[in-house]
Symmetry: C2
Subunit: 192 residues, 2 copies
């Protein structure tokens, strides 16, 4: 599946870290690209691109001045749209239908504080992760997990300069040599 | 299961929103209480308590000046400790053992930027949600989802003043009358 995360209504002063978390969680949990709507924010775009540069895979992120144009462009390319909102249908009820009907192309809309009413209408699904107020980052994570059925946790990130070897205690990071595929141990925190 | 979320190394200027999201996502996804370590932050504690006051259930949150004291206190009361870190063992591999061995009492430690080395040693499990850098909010959400096996999505919140009726489009919020159990429709956004 080709999955794009569209972050709505970003405001630099308020949302820098949350929006960065939205894109990084999206990337780590199976999304393929990000679109930042609202204020343009080079710091967020750079930070997300930097992570993808070091940790592998492709995760292009760009700013769009208009979510309406972006959504209609994606729809023309065959994307369906799922909007995460606490008012929507429960994720556990609709995820199977979304997986089936999206046919490999899905845009997930993640709102900030105030979501314009037309987003509800432009979306094919309005999806709630619990009906409780919590976090768009957590909602996106659970949505992707339900959509991909846990397979996203095993996602491979091609061409990574850095990768982690899971440890019960301590840290083990592998780093690729600048030119070459061979990896060496980059850091191991023996004190832990 | 009795589950406490311990947020480490909170800094008011930097972490206010992320820490609030950590606690709210914890509450929405099955945790029972929160402890804020690092700087004390009344705004975070009030905001989380306010959500619990309106949306039901009990979710006490308090500040602790020392995570070491809090962890040893919880351990004396029979709690096991799972620390979320990208360097740890994969959640999909260890969640079943944690569920079994925690025997109903678990503290989940959620770090901020720099986690002191002893946290890795004081924890019974160091748990990674993917080995990728992303978001402690997303990591907590996926961890709880794996731990509770999806049942957390159906959690009931007793005594809620506000609750949402899932809708394909629009918003439907029920509000309890100040004194009484009867609920009425509080808002329905017909334009959506």
């Amino acid at each position: 599946m080709k999955l794009v995360v569209l972050r709505l209504g970003h405001r630099k002063a308020r949302d820098k870290r949350i929006t960065t978390h939205v894109f990084l969680a999206g990337r780590a949990l199976g999304a393929d690209a990000g679109v930042l709507c609202g204020e343009n924010d080079e710091a967020v775009l750079k930070s997300v691109s930097g992570v993808a540069g070091n940790w592998g895979g492709r995760f292009p992120v760009k700013h769009s001045p208009s979510y309406r144009k972006t959504l209609s462009g994606l729809k023309r390319r065959g994307f369906r749209v799922a909007h995460l909102t606490m008012y929507g249908e429960r994720v556990e009820a609709v995820a199977p239908a979304i997986r089936r009907k999206a046919r490999g192309r899905l845009c997930v809309v993640v709102g900030a504080e105030k979501v314009p009413g037309d987003v509800y209408r432009l979306s094919d699904w309005n999806v709630a992760v619990t009906g409780q107020p919590h976090s768009e980052v957590a909602a996106l994570a659970i949505f992707l997990h339900e959509l991909f059925g846990g397979k996203e946790l095993a996602k491979k990130f091609a061409g990574a300069r850095l990768s982690i070897v899971p440890q019960a205690r301590g840290k083990k990071v592998l780093a690729a040599k600048p030119r070459g595929n061979q990896k060496r141990i980059y850091s191991r925190n023996a004190q832990l």
